[in-house]
Symmetry: C2
Subunit: 241 residues, 2 copies
Protein backbone atom coordinates (compact mmCIF):
# COMPACT_ATOMS: atom_id res chain seq x y z
CA UNK A 1 0.00 0.00 0.00
CA UNK A 2 1.53 3.28 -0.99
CA UNK A 3 0.98 6.38 1.11
CA UNK A 4 -0.72 9.63 0.14
CA UNK A 5 2.64 11.36 0.60
CA UNK A 6 4.28 9.05 -1.96
CA UNK A 7 1.51 9.72 -4.50
CA UNK A 8 1.82 13.46 -3.91
CA UNK A 9 5.63 13.30 -4.30
CA UNK A 10 5.33 11.51 -7.66
CA UNK A 11 2.62 13.86 -8.94
CA UNK A 12 4.74 16.84 -7.87
CA UNK A 13 7.66 15.61 -9.98
CA UNK A 14 5.64 16.97 -12.94
CA UNK A 15 6.80 20.40 -11.70
CA UNK A 16 10.30 21.33 -12.87
CA UNK A 17 11.32 23.20 -9.70
CA UNK A 18 10.27 20.33 -7.48
CA UNK A 19 11.98 17.84 -9.83
CA UNK A 20 15.33 19.60 -9.47
CA UNK A 21 14.85 20.13 -5.73
CA UNK A 22 14.49 16.35 -5.32
CA UNK A 23 16.82 15.56 -8.22
CA UNK A 24 14.42 12.89 -9.49
CA UNK A 25 12.26 12.30 -12.55
CA UNK A 26 9.57 9.82 -13.58
CA UNK A 27 9.65 7.13 -16.28
CA UNK A 28 6.48 5.20 -17.13
CA UNK A 29 5.39 2.09 -18.96
CA UNK A 30 6.74 -1.38 -19.58
CA UNK A 31 8.81 -0.62 -22.68
CA UNK A 32 10.30 2.62 -21.33
CA UNK A 33 11.26 1.06 -17.99
CA UNK A 34 12.90 -1.83 -19.84
CA UNK A 35 15.05 0.67 -21.78
CA UNK A 36 15.79 2.44 -18.50
CA UNK A 37 16.98 -0.75 -16.80
CA UNK A 38 19.34 -1.35 -19.74
CA UNK A 39 20.76 2.18 -19.42
CA UNK A 40 23.42 3.60 -17.11
CA UNK A 41 20.99 5.78 -15.13
CA UNK A 42 20.42 5.27 -11.41
CA UNK A 43 16.91 4.03 -10.54
CA UNK A 44 15.84 5.12 -7.05
CA UNK A 45 12.64 3.09 -6.94
CA UNK A 46 10.21 1.12 -9.11
CA UNK A 47 6.48 0.97 -8.43
CA UNK A 48 4.99 -1.97 -10.28
CA UNK A 49 1.98 -4.24 -10.41
CA UNK A 50 2.29 -7.91 -9.42
CA UNK A 51 2.20 -8.94 -13.10
CA UNK A 52 5.22 -6.79 -13.93
CA UNK A 53 7.19 -8.00 -10.89
CA UNK A 54 6.57 -11.64 -11.83
CA UNK A 55 7.81 -10.95 -15.37
CA UNK A 56 11.00 -9.28 -14.06
CA UNK A 57 12.38 -11.53 -11.31
CA UNK A 58 16.06 -10.70 -11.89
CA UNK A 59 16.14 -7.12 -10.62
CA UNK A 60 17.90 -7.76 -7.31
CA UNK A 61 19.57 -4.39 -6.70
CA UNK A 62 16.59 -2.10 -7.25
CA UNK A 63 14.00 -1.14 -4.64
CA UNK A 64 10.68 -2.42 -6.02
CA UNK A 65 7.36 -1.68 -4.41
CA UNK A 66 4.29 -3.65 -5.43
CA UNK A 67 1.23 -1.53 -6.13
CA UNK A 68 -2.33 -2.05 -7.35
CA UNK A 69 -3.51 -0.77 -10.75
CA UNK A 70 -5.73 1.88 -9.09
CA UNK A 71 -2.69 3.20 -7.21
CA UNK A 72 -0.69 3.42 -10.44
CA UNK A 73 -3.56 5.39 -11.98
CA UNK A 74 -3.31 7.94 -9.18
CA UNK A 75 0.45 8.41 -9.70
CA UNK A 76 0.52 8.33 -13.49
CA UNK A 77 0.57 11.24 -15.92
CA UNK A 78 -0.43 8.91 -18.79
CA UNK A 79 -4.00 8.51 -19.98
CA UNK A 80 -3.52 4.73 -19.99
CA UNK A 81 -0.99 3.80 -17.26
CA UNK A 82 0.96 0.66 -18.03
CA UNK A 83 2.09 -1.66 -15.19
CA UNK A 84 5.15 0.22 -13.97
CA UNK A 85 6.52 3.62 -12.97
CA UNK A 86 10.14 4.33 -12.04
CA UNK A 87 11.72 7.14 -10.06
CA UNK A 88 15.12 7.96 -11.54
CA UNK A 89 18.01 10.12 -10.40
CA UNK A 90 18.64 13.18 -12.61
CA UNK A 91 22.24 12.92 -13.89
CA UNK A 92 24.58 15.86 -13.24
CA UNK A 93 24.56 18.60 -15.94
CA UNK A 94 28.33 18.26 -16.46
CA UNK A 95 29.98 20.07 -19.38
CA UNK A 96 30.44 17.86 -22.45
CA UNK A 97 33.22 18.61 -24.95
CA UNK A 98 31.78 18.63 -28.46
CA UNK A 99 32.90 15.68 -30.59
CA UNK A 100 31.74 14.77 -34.10
CA UNK A 101 28.27 16.11 -34.87
CA UNK A 102 26.03 17.58 -32.12
CA UNK A 103 22.55 19.10 -32.16
CA UNK A 104 22.12 22.55 -30.60
CA UNK A 105 18.66 23.77 -29.58
CA UNK A 106 17.74 27.41 -29.10
CA UNK A 107 14.60 27.83 -26.95
CA UNK A 108 12.65 24.74 -28.02
CA UNK A 109 9.40 24.93 -26.00
CA UNK A 110 7.30 21.93 -27.01
CA UNK A 111 8.10 18.76 -24.98
CA UNK A 112 7.03 16.53 -27.88
CA UNK A 113 9.50 18.31 -30.16
CA UNK A 114 12.42 17.93 -27.71
CA UNK A 115 11.62 14.24 -27.20
CA UNK A 116 11.42 13.66 -30.98
CA UNK A 117 14.71 15.52 -31.54
CA UNK A 118 16.50 13.36 -28.95
CA UNK A 119 15.09 10.27 -30.71
CA UNK A 120 16.40 11.66 -34.05
CA UNK A 121 19.86 12.17 -32.49
CA UNK A 122 19.77 8.55 -31.29
CA UNK A 123 18.74 7.31 -34.77
CA UNK A 124 21.54 9.17 -36.55
CA UNK A 125 24.26 8.32 -34.00
CA UNK A 126 24.57 11.88 -32.65
CA UNK A 127 25.72 11.61 -29.02
CA UNK A 128 25.03 15.08 -27.64
CA UNK A 129 22.17 17.58 -27.67
CA UNK A 130 23.07 21.04 -26.33
CA UNK A 131 20.05 23.02 -25.11
CA UNK A 132 19.79 26.74 -24.38
CA UNK A 133 18.93 27.37 -20.75
CA UNK A 134 15.34 28.32 -21.68
CA UNK A 135 14.69 25.14 -23.68
CA UNK A 136 12.02 22.87 -22.14
CA UNK A 137 13.45 20.52 -19.51
CA UNK A 138 14.60 17.13 -20.80
CA UNK A 139 13.21 15.36 -17.68
CA UNK A 140 9.68 16.68 -18.30
CA UNK A 141 7.56 13.51 -18.52
CA UNK A 142 6.28 14.36 -22.03
CA UNK A 143 9.87 14.76 -23.30
CA UNK A 144 10.89 11.44 -21.74
CA UNK A 145 7.90 9.62 -23.28
CA UNK A 146 8.28 11.23 -26.75
CA UNK A 147 11.97 10.25 -26.82
CA UNK A 148 10.91 6.56 -26.61
CA UNK A 149 13.87 5.81 -24.37
CA UNK A 150 16.49 7.72 -26.38
CA UNK A 151 16.75 10.18 -23.47
CA UNK A 152 18.53 7.41 -21.53
CA UNK A 153 21.28 7.12 -24.17
CA UNK A 154 21.79 10.65 -25.52
CA UNK A 155 23.73 13.21 -23.47
CA UNK A 156 22.06 16.57 -22.99
CA UNK A 157 23.69 19.70 -21.65
CA UNK A 158 21.92 22.96 -20.79
CA UNK A 159 24.19 25.92 -21.38
CA UNK A 160 24.59 29.33 -22.96
CA UNK A 161 24.66 28.62 -26.71
CA UNK A 162 26.53 31.81 -27.65
CA UNK A 163 29.32 30.80 -25.22
CA UNK A 164 29.35 27.25 -26.61
CA UNK A 165 29.78 28.48 -30.19
CA UNK A 166 32.31 31.19 -29.27
CA UNK A 167 34.42 28.67 -27.33
CA UNK A 168 34.40 26.21 -30.26
CA UNK A 169 35.02 28.44 -33.28
CA UNK A 170 37.01 25.72 -35.04
CA UNK A 171 33.84 23.58 -35.30
CA UNK A 172 31.57 24.38 -38.28
CA UNK A 173 28.02 25.32 -37.30
CA UNK A 174 24.93 24.81 -39.48
CA UNK A 175 21.99 27.02 -38.58
CA UNK A 176 18.54 26.33 -40.02
CA UNK A 177 16.92 29.51 -41.34
CA UNK A 178 14.17 30.13 -43.92
CA UNK A 179 16.40 31.60 -46.65
CA UNK A 180 19.78 29.89 -46.51
CA UNK A 181 21.86 27.61 -48.71
CA UNK A 182 19.81 24.70 -50.13
CA UNK A 183 20.67 21.70 -47.98
CA UNK A 184 19.95 19.13 -50.71
CA UNK A 185 23.29 19.44 -52.44
CA UNK A 186 25.37 19.71 -49.25
CA UNK A 187 27.96 16.99 -48.82
CA UNK A 188 28.04 14.80 -45.70
CA UNK A 189 29.74 16.26 -42.61
CA UNK A 190 31.89 14.52 -39.98
CA UNK A 191 31.91 17.33 -37.43
CA UNK A 192 29.64 20.25 -36.61
CA UNK A 193 26.81 21.83 -34.66
CA UNK A 194 23.33 21.50 -36.19
CA UNK A 195 21.38 24.44 -34.75
CA UNK A 196 17.56 24.47 -34.54
CA UNK A 197 15.52 27.37 -33.19
CA UNK A 198 12.30 28.11 -31.35
CA UNK A 199 9.01 26.86 -32.87
CA UNK A 200 7.69 30.33 -33.73
CA UNK A 201 10.67 32.68 -33.46
CA UNK A 202 13.40 30.53 -35.05
CA UNK A 203 17.06 30.94 -34.06
CA UNK A 204 18.19 34.11 -32.21
CA UNK A 205 20.12 36.65 -34.32
CA UNK A 206 23.10 36.46 -31.97
CA UNK A 207 23.39 32.71 -32.65
CA UNK A 208 22.86 33.10 -36.42
CA UNK A 209 25.68 35.64 -36.46
CA UNK A 210 28.05 33.21 -34.72
CA UNK A 211 27.27 30.38 -37.17
CA UNK A 212 29.45 29.48 -40.13
CA UNK A 213 26.75 28.03 -42.46
CA UNK A 214 23.17 29.22 -43.00
CA UNK A 215 21.14 26.33 -44.43
CA UNK A 216 17.54 25.74 -45.57
CA UNK A 217 15.24 22.93 -46.62
CA UNK A 218 13.88 23.77 -50.09
CA UNK A 219 10.14 24.54 -50.16
CA UNK A 220 7.86 23.71 -53.08
CA UNK A 221 4.43 24.36 -51.55
CA UNK A 222 2.71 26.98 -49.44
CA UNK A 223 3.36 26.08 -45.77
CA UNK A 224 5.16 28.94 -44.00
CA UNK A 225 7.52 26.64 -42.14
CA UNK A 226 8.11 23.08 -40.98
CA UNK A 227 7.77 21.86 -37.40
CA UNK A 228 11.13 22.16 -35.56
CA UNK A 229 11.52 18.41 -35.03
CA UNK A 230 10.65 17.63 -38.68
CA UNK A 231 13.27 20.16 -39.82
CA UNK A 232 15.83 18.54 -37.48
CA UNK A 233 15.13 15.11 -38.97
CA UNK A 234 15.51 16.32 -42.56
CA UNK A 235 18.70 18.27 -41.82
CA UNK A 236 20.32 15.40 -39.89
CA UNK A 237 19.49 13.00 -42.71
CA UNK A 238 20.83 15.42 -45.35
CA UNK A 239 24.08 16.23 -43.52
CA UNK A 240 24.84 12.75 -42.18
CA UNK A 241 23.90 10.38 -45.04
Amino acid sequence: MITKAQVKHIQSLEDKKYRYKCNEFVVEGEKMVQELINSSLTINCIYATKDWIEKNPMLKNILIEEIQSFELEKMSSLSTPNMVLAIVQIPANTPISPKGVSIVLDRIQDPGNLGSIIRIADWFGINTVYCSEDTVDVYNSKVVQASMGSVFRIKTQYSNIEHLLAANKQIPSYVAILKGENITSHKAIQEGFIIIGNESKGVSDSIINLSTHKISIPRKGQAESLNAAIATGIICHSLLS
Copy 2:
Protein backbone atom coordinates in the same frame (compact mmCIF):
# COMPACT_ATOMS: atom_id res chain seq x y z
CA MET B 1 -24.00 36.88 -24.80
CA ILE B 2 -23.72 33.32 -25.96
CA THR B 3 -26.02 30.63 -24.65
CA LYS B 4 -25.18 27.51 -22.67
CA ALA B 5 -26.44 25.46 -25.62
CA GLN B 6 -23.96 27.17 -27.97
CA VAL B 7 -21.06 26.49 -25.58
CA LYS B 8 -22.15 22.86 -25.24
CA HIS B 9 -22.42 22.50 -29.04
CA ILE B 10 -18.89 23.81 -29.55
CA GLN B 11 -17.42 21.65 -26.78
CA SER B 12 -19.22 18.62 -28.23
CA LEU B 13 -17.53 19.15 -31.60
CA GLU B 14 -14.44 17.64 -29.91
CA ASP B 15 -16.27 14.33 -30.33
CA LYS B 16 -15.87 12.79 -33.78
CA LYS B 17 -19.37 11.29 -34.00
CA TYR B 18 -21.01 14.59 -33.03
CA ARG B 19 -18.72 16.46 -35.46
CA TYR B 20 -19.88 14.36 -38.40
CA LYS B 21 -23.52 14.44 -37.26
CA CYS B 22 -23.38 18.25 -37.40
CA ASN B 23 -20.88 18.32 -40.27
CA GLU B 24 -18.88 21.07 -38.52
CA PHE B 25 -15.43 21.47 -36.99
CA VAL B 26 -13.65 24.09 -34.90
CA VAL B 27 -10.71 26.33 -35.80
CA GLU B 28 -9.09 28.50 -33.12
CA GLY B 29 -6.71 31.42 -32.80
CA GLU B 30 -5.93 34.58 -34.72
CA LYS B 31 -3.37 33.12 -37.15
CA MET B 32 -5.34 29.96 -37.90
CA VAL B 33 -8.59 31.84 -38.52
CA GLN B 34 -6.72 34.21 -40.85
CA GLU B 35 -5.51 31.20 -42.89
CA LEU B 36 -9.07 29.85 -42.83
CA ILE B 37 -10.55 33.08 -44.20
CA ASN B 38 -8.02 32.96 -47.06
CA SER B 39 -9.03 29.37 -47.87
CA SER B 40 -11.94 27.98 -49.89
CA LEU B 41 -13.68 26.41 -46.87
CA THR B 42 -17.17 27.53 -45.80
CA ILE B 43 -17.24 29.30 -42.43
CA ASN B 44 -20.59 28.87 -40.65
CA CYS B 45 -19.88 31.28 -37.80
CA ILE B 46 -17.08 33.20 -36.08
CA TYR B 47 -17.08 33.90 -32.35
CA ALA B 48 -14.62 36.71 -31.62
CA THR B 49 -13.69 39.29 -29.04
CA LYS B 50 -14.27 43.00 -29.72
CA ASP B 51 -10.53 43.50 -30.39
CA TRP B 52 -10.52 40.90 -33.14
CA ILE B 53 -13.70 42.26 -34.76
CA GLU B 54 -12.24 45.78 -34.83
CA LYS B 55 -9.08 44.44 -36.52
CA ASN B 56 -11.14 42.59 -39.17
CA PRO B 57 -13.81 45.03 -40.41
CA MET B 58 -13.98 43.67 -43.98
CA LEU B 59 -15.68 40.33 -43.31
CA LYS B 60 -19.12 41.21 -44.60
CA ASN B 61 -20.43 37.79 -45.63
CA ILE B 62 -19.65 35.84 -42.48
CA LEU B 63 -21.86 35.59 -39.40
CA ILE B 64 -19.75 37.05 -36.58
CA GLU B 65 -20.83 36.97 -32.96
CA GLU B 66 -19.03 39.14 -30.41
CA ILE B 67 -18.06 37.34 -27.23
CA GLN B 68 -16.17 38.09 -24.03
CA SER B 69 -12.81 36.50 -23.23
CA PHE B 70 -14.35 34.43 -20.42
CA GLU B 71 -16.89 33.03 -22.88
CA LEU B 72 -14.11 32.10 -25.31
CA GLU B 73 -12.33 30.28 -22.48
CA LYS B 74 -15.43 28.16 -21.91
CA MET B 75 -15.64 27.17 -25.59
CA SER B 76 -11.96 26.67 -26.27
CA SER B 77 -9.94 23.48 -26.29
CA LEU B 78 -6.67 25.47 -26.11
CA SER B 79 -4.82 26.13 -22.86
CA THR B 80 -4.46 29.78 -23.90
CA PRO B 81 -7.46 30.77 -26.06
CA ASN B 82 -6.68 33.51 -28.55
CA MET B 83 -9.37 36.06 -29.53
CA VAL B 84 -11.33 34.01 -32.05
CA LEU B 85 -12.96 30.65 -32.73
CA ALA B 86 -14.60 29.64 -36.01
CA ILE B 87 -17.15 26.96 -36.82
CA VAL B 88 -16.42 25.53 -40.24
CA GLN B 89 -18.32 23.21 -42.56
CA ILE B 90 -16.64 19.81 -43.10
CA PRO B 91 -16.01 19.44 -46.84
CA ALA B 92 -17.39 16.34 -48.59
CA ASN B 93 -15.09 13.28 -48.62
CA THR B 94 -15.23 13.06 -52.43
CA PRO B 95 -12.89 10.67 -54.26
CA ILE B 96 -9.70 12.35 -55.50
CA SER B 97 -7.86 10.91 -58.51
CA PRO B 98 -4.16 10.57 -57.67
CA LYS B 99 -1.92 13.02 -59.53
CA GLY B 100 1.81 13.55 -59.10
CA VAL B 101 3.03 12.55 -55.64
CA SER B 102 0.57 11.76 -52.81
CA ILE B 103 1.04 10.70 -49.18
CA VAL B 104 -0.82 7.59 -48.03
CA LEU B 105 -1.33 6.95 -44.31
CA ASP B 106 -2.08 3.56 -42.81
CA ARG B 107 -3.67 3.83 -39.32
CA ILE B 108 -1.89 6.98 -38.04
CA GLN B 109 -3.31 7.47 -34.52
CA ASP B 110 -1.59 10.54 -33.06
CA PRO B 111 -3.34 13.83 -33.98
CA GLY B 112 -0.03 15.74 -33.73
CA ASN B 113 1.53 13.36 -36.25
CA LEU B 114 -1.33 13.73 -38.75
CA GLY B 115 -1.25 17.53 -38.42
CA SER B 116 2.54 17.58 -38.92
CA ILE B 117 2.28 15.27 -41.96
CA ILE B 118 -0.31 17.54 -43.60
CA ARG B 119 2.05 20.49 -42.94
CA ILE B 120 4.90 18.48 -44.56
CA ALA B 121 2.70 17.80 -47.62
CA ASP B 122 1.98 21.53 -47.87
CA TRP B 123 5.72 22.37 -47.59
CA PHE B 124 6.72 19.94 -50.34
CA GLY B 125 3.86 20.80 -52.71
CA ILE B 126 2.05 17.49 -52.28
CA ASN B 127 -1.68 18.11 -52.84
CA THR B 128 -3.33 15.00 -51.47
CA VAL B 129 -3.08 12.88 -48.31
CA TYR B 130 -4.98 9.57 -48.48
CA CYS B 131 -5.86 8.17 -45.04
CA SER B 132 -6.98 4.65 -44.14
CA GLU B 133 -10.45 4.67 -42.62
CA ASP B 134 -9.01 4.04 -39.13
CA THR B 135 -6.56 6.96 -39.29
CA VAL B 136 -7.30 9.73 -36.74
CA ASP B 137 -9.86 12.25 -38.07
CA VAL B 138 -8.39 15.25 -39.88
CA TYR B 139 -10.96 17.61 -38.28
CA ASN B 140 -9.89 16.66 -34.74
CA SER B 141 -8.90 20.01 -33.17
CA LYS B 142 -5.36 18.82 -32.38
CA VAL B 143 -4.81 17.79 -36.00
CA VAL B 144 -6.10 21.15 -37.25
CA GLN B 145 -3.84 23.09 -34.83
CA ALA B 146 -0.73 20.96 -35.53
CA SER B 147 -1.19 21.46 -39.28
CA MET B 148 -0.76 25.23 -38.76
CA GLY B 149 -3.39 25.95 -41.40
CA SER B 150 -2.13 23.45 -43.99
CA VAL B 151 -5.30 21.41 -43.41
CA PHE B 152 -7.19 24.19 -45.26
CA ARG B 153 -5.07 23.76 -48.40
CA ILE B 154 -4.28 20.03 -48.60
CA LYS B 155 -6.95 17.59 -49.79
CA THR B 156 -7.51 14.57 -47.59
CA GLN B 157 -9.50 11.50 -48.51
CA TYR B 158 -10.42 8.62 -46.19
CA SER B 159 -10.60 5.35 -48.05
CA ASN B 160 -9.55 1.74 -48.23
CA ILE B 161 -5.81 1.88 -49.00
CA GLU B 162 -5.60 -1.61 -50.49
CA HIS B 163 -8.36 -0.62 -52.97
CA LEU B 164 -6.58 2.66 -53.75
CA LEU B 165 -3.31 0.87 -54.58
CA ALA B 166 -4.99 -1.95 -56.49
CA ALA B 167 -6.96 0.54 -58.60
CA ASN B 168 -3.80 2.53 -59.42
CA LYS B 169 -1.23 -0.16 -60.18
CA GLN B 170 0.46 2.01 -62.81
CA ILE B 171 1.56 4.47 -60.07
CA PRO B 172 4.77 3.53 -58.21
CA SER B 173 4.34 3.19 -54.45
CA TYR B 174 7.08 3.74 -51.88
CA VAL B 175 6.45 2.07 -48.54
CA ALA B 176 8.56 2.97 -45.50
CA ILE B 177 9.74 -0.15 -43.66
CA LEU B 178 12.68 -0.81 -41.31
CA LYS B 179 14.78 -2.91 -43.70
CA GLY B 180 14.24 -1.62 -47.23
CA GLU B 181 16.29 0.04 -49.95
CA ASN B 182 18.40 2.95 -48.60
CA ILE B 183 16.51 6.10 -49.52
CA THR B 184 19.61 8.32 -49.64
CA SER B 185 20.65 7.37 -53.13
CA HIS B 186 17.14 7.31 -54.61
CA LYS B 187 16.59 9.73 -57.46
CA ALA B 188 13.81 12.31 -57.36
CA ILE B 189 10.31 11.12 -58.30
CA GLN B 190 7.56 12.93 -60.22
CA GLU B 191 4.74 10.54 -59.43
CA GLY B 192 3.98 8.07 -56.67
CA PHE B 193 2.39 7.14 -53.36
CA ILE B 194 4.56 7.66 -50.26
CA ILE B 195 3.14 5.21 -47.69
CA ILE B 196 3.62 5.68 -43.93
CA GLY B 197 2.32 3.29 -41.29
CA ASN B 198 1.00 3.23 -37.75
CA GLU B 199 3.23 4.62 -34.96
CA SER B 200 3.89 1.27 -33.31
CA LYS B 201 2.80 -1.36 -35.84
CA GLY B 202 4.12 0.18 -39.07
CA VAL B 203 2.45 -0.51 -42.42
CA SER B 204 0.06 -3.51 -42.76
CA ASP B 205 1.48 -6.53 -44.62
CA SER B 206 -1.33 -6.38 -47.19
CA ILE B 207 -0.28 -2.83 -48.13
CA ILE B 208 3.45 -3.69 -48.15
CA ASN B 209 2.68 -6.55 -50.54
CA LEU B 210 0.85 -4.20 -52.92
CA SER B 211 3.73 -1.68 -52.97
CA THR B 212 6.33 -1.47 -55.70
CA HIS B 213 9.27 -0.06 -53.66
CA LYS B 214 10.29 -0.89 -50.08
CA ILE B 215 12.40 2.00 -48.72
CA SER B 216 14.23 2.85 -45.50
CA ILE B 217 16.01 5.75 -43.83
CA PRO B 218 19.54 4.57 -42.93
CA ARG B 219 20.18 4.27 -39.18
CA LYS B 220 23.53 4.93 -37.54
CA GLY B 221 22.57 4.94 -33.86
CA GLN B 222 20.51 2.88 -31.46
CA ALA B 223 16.94 4.22 -31.64
CA GLU B 224 14.54 1.45 -32.69
CA SER B 225 12.57 3.69 -35.03
CA LEU B 226 11.76 7.28 -35.93
CA ASN B 227 8.49 9.05 -35.20
CA ALA B 228 6.05 8.61 -38.14
CA ALA B 229 5.91 12.32 -38.98
CA ILE B 230 9.73 12.66 -38.83
CA ALA B 231 10.07 9.69 -41.20
CA THR B 232 7.52 11.30 -43.56
CA GLY B 233 9.51 14.55 -43.62
CA ILE B 234 12.81 12.80 -44.39
CA ILE B 235 11.28 10.59 -47.10
CA CYS B 236 9.44 13.50 -48.79
CA HIS B 237 12.65 15.55 -48.79
CA SER B 238 14.68 12.63 -50.17
CA LEU B 239 12.22 11.69 -52.92
CA LEU B 240 11.21 15.21 -53.96
CA SER B 241 14.45 17.24 -53.85
